[in-house]
């Protein structure tokens, strides 16, 4: 199959394919970070995670429309405000959901799964009623359009680079919050030993609520970033949810580094296989390999040692 291509063309194909894999990697990282906080640190299965992302995407859509209508001069910078608003909107919804639903179900993880699935259905219907069933696209500012020519054959889309930069930035932010802030220390303490953490004076209830809220907020930012590379529909969140969970579980639920490593290996495997096989077979093979590895190593790639 390679006989028809010259060496430089082959190199270009691999570079482009590798870059496509890197964009997919950024997407996976963005999706998985919020979940890694919620599922990894709290053990809560949030099946509505995709819908929190979509909320962020819709907020971005609204902000871009607002800027286009009232502040066209600042349009090229609207995205940064949109990201902050997306974080606040999704985070606030997350806090509310934790308070009204999740906190009653901490001891019943399987029930949380069902309840949050119900929540995801409700949110989908609300999005459909408010924004319509059709997908909406965000008008991207000019500086993000087009692509950067690296050589004659290789071109790199700028919005792809932007999403990658965002993924790195948000990963760093989550890292700092998790390992350098007081909140992160409390979250990790609760994850390791809830009773003892409570005994030394950590407000475990409030920390749980904040953790859930921040996880949802990160999801909102991820959704906001997605509008740069694709359109948003009411059911888009559901497409991501299984992939996202597999990324987190594969990496080892409690490990942030594991999540990133697994997002990298899964996205590269999938995009490389997509070149050789059809898209659906690549997806099937990737999923099967992940499930197969999880059967051999159920705790994931990077497991934290804990006394249970």
């Amino acid at each position: 199959m390679f006989a028809d291509y010259s060496m430089s063309e082959l190199g270009a194909i691999f570079a482009m394919q590798g870059f496509a894999g890197l964009i997919l990697f950024s997407v996976f990282v963005l999706m998985a970070l919020g979940l890694a906080i919620i599922f990894g640190q709290m053990g809560v299965i949030n099946m509505a995670h995709g819908e929190f992302m979509i909320l962020g995407a819709y907020v971005t859509y609204l902000v871009s429309n607002f800027f286009a209508a009232y502040l066209p001069g600042l349009f090229s910078a609207y995205f940064f405000l949109a990201m902050i608003l997306a974080f606040i909107a999704s985070g606030a919804l997350g806090l509310f959901i934790e308070w009204s639903m999740i906190r009653h179900l901490y001891k019943r993880p399987l029930d949380t799964l069902l309840a949050t699935w119900g929540l995801s259905l409700i949110l989908q219907q609300i999005y459909r009623s408010v924004f319509g069933a059709r997908e909406v696209g965000v008008s991207i500012p000019d500086w993000m359009m087009g692509s950067m020519p690296v050589t004659d054959l290789i071109e790199i889309p700028i919005n792809g680079i932007f999403v990658m930069v965002l993924a790195v930035g948000i990963s760093l932010a989550v890292y700092v919050m998790m390992f350098r802030s007081g909140w992160g220390k409390q979250v990790r303490a609760i994850n390791q030993n809830r009773v003892m953490a409570g005994a030394v004076g950590i407000n475990t209830e409030w920390t749980d609520r904040l953790t859930f809220g921040i996880g949802c907020g990160v999801a909102g930012v991820a959704g906001s970033a997605f509008t740069m590379i694709g359109s948003t529909g009411p059911t888009a969140g559901q497409l991501y949810i299984v992939d996202t969970f597999l990324v987190v579980v594969f990496g080892g639920a409690a490990s942030l580094l594991g999540t990133i490593a697994s997002a990298f290996s899964i996205s590269q495997a999938q995009s490389i296989m997509e070149f050789f096989l059809s898209g659906s077979m690549a997806k099937v093979l990737t999923l099967l390999i992940i499930v197969g590895i999880l059967m051999i190593r159920p705790q994931g790639l990077f497991a934290m040692k804990l006394r249970k």
């Binding site: 069902l114 309840a115 259905l121 597999l246 898209g279 159920p298």
Partner: protein, 376 residues
């Protein structure tokens, strides 16, 4: 009544009421179209019964029951499709004698793994065997490694995703996103006529009761008690010398077999099978049938499947926007407010009052029971 008999007294009454509802009440009040619809709902209750055993009793939540339902349904659909694709019926195709979707996808010969499905005996065997073999492989791989709880749920969900993508992607072999459609006869007997639909409804009902009896047998046996023990204190059961994984594998396979039978009956009654019944969304909806009925109760599972599907049809006919809100609310309500579902409401609220009534006037006991159960 002896403690180790198959039924307690109230369970016996429950079975009798369900039999009356399925074999007498529904056929009497519904026309053939609606009866066929209820027959379809009942095929989901096969899955729900399996889930009541796996999840309610055993604590194993599978979000991939649609896989087994689909595999059973596809096995039956393959047989029916081959029977419908005789060289005479498909004479206009470029390759007569193979199913129409294969011809559209430029296949010129039947794939080898379709060949055995010319035989009804093999197809009926495969309806149970294929889901069970799949469940066995998944079960051995997962339970021997002591994977359970939410991890098991997520991985079974991944299997539902894998199978859907595979079926849709391999259009030439599986019929793709349309599924296997245009099924006509079973050994020359037209399954699309009204009489056939009514007959199939009764066959379905009888099979359902066979499955219910099997499930009841498991629940009342030592295995049933071990399952509950494993759900509550898995380590203690293991330390008592039981091989926990084997029991889990068995019950998971049993649930898969039930789901496969349900899938086959679905294909026969509805006349097609498609990947929309296999994926993540239908699989998790099957869990809600079981949860609404009461996750511990096998009779509740049947009512749950009937009720949720009936509500789905009614609502999506008249208020399509409300249905998803209603279903979402149902998920949340059943988990937060009624963790024991209809069966819980029955045994906590209705039954004690009935017993009081019986004590006062024994003659009136049977009629309110019959009315209140399906109306819940």
């Amino acid at each position: 009544m002896k403690a180790n008999a198959l039924f307690t007294r109230s369970e016996m009454i429950g079975f009798a009421i369900l039999a009356c509802v399925i074999f007498l009440l529904l056929p009497a009040v519904l026309d053939t179209f609606r009866l066929n619809l209820f027959g379809k709902y009942l095929t989901y209750s096969f899955v729900a019964i399996g889930l009541a055993l796996c999840w309610g009793a055993g604590g194993i939540l599978s979000l991939g029951q649609g896989v087994f339902f689909g595999l059973g349904g596809y096995c039956m659909a393959m047989f029916l499709k081959l029977e419908a694709s005789t060289p005479e019926n498909t004479a206009i195709q470029s390759t007569p004698g193979i199913p129409d979707f294969m011809d559209w996808n430029q296949l010129t010969a039947l794939p080898w793994w379709w060949e055995p499905f010319h035989s009804l005996g093999f197809a009926m065997f495969a309806v149970v065997a294929v889901p069970v073999v799949f469940a066995f492989i998944i079960g051995v791989a997962m339970f021997r490694r002591r994977v359970g709880g939410v991890y098991f749920a997520i991985i079974t969900q991944a299997f539902a995703a894998i199978l859907t993508i595979l079926i849709i992607g391999q259009q030439g072999f599986t019929g793709g996103v349309n599924g296997i459609t245009d099924l006509r006869t079973l050994l020359g007997w037209d399954i699309r006529t009204d009489e056939a639909k009514e007959t199939l409804y009764y066959v379905n009902g009888i099979l359902l009761f066979a499955v219910l009896f099997a499930a009841q047998f498991v629940r009342r046996s030592k295995l049933g008690r071990l399952l509950i023990a494993m759900r509550d204190q898995e380590d203690r059961v293991r330390f008592s010398g039981y091989d926990v994984a084997s029991f889990k594998i068995f019950i998971f396979c049993l649930g898969a077999a039930f789901a496969g039978i349900g899938g086959a009956m679905f294909t026969l009654q509805v006349g097609f099978m498609s990947p929309t019944l296999v994926g993540i969304v239908p699989s998790i909806e099957m869990v809600i049938f079981c949860a609404v009925g009461g996750r511990m109760s096998i009779l509740g599972a049947v009512y749950g499947a009937l009720l949720v599907n009936w509500a789905k049809t009614t609502f999506s006919e008249s208020f399509p926007e409300l249905w998803l809100l209603g279903l979402g609310g149902l998920f949340i309500a059943v988990v937060m407010a009624f963790p024991n579902g209809l069966a819980g409401i029955w045994s906590e609220k209705v039954e004690p009052r009935l017993l009081k009534l019986i004590k006062k006037s024994p003659a009136q006991a049977a009629s309110p029971a019959q009315q209140s159960t399906p109306a819940e």
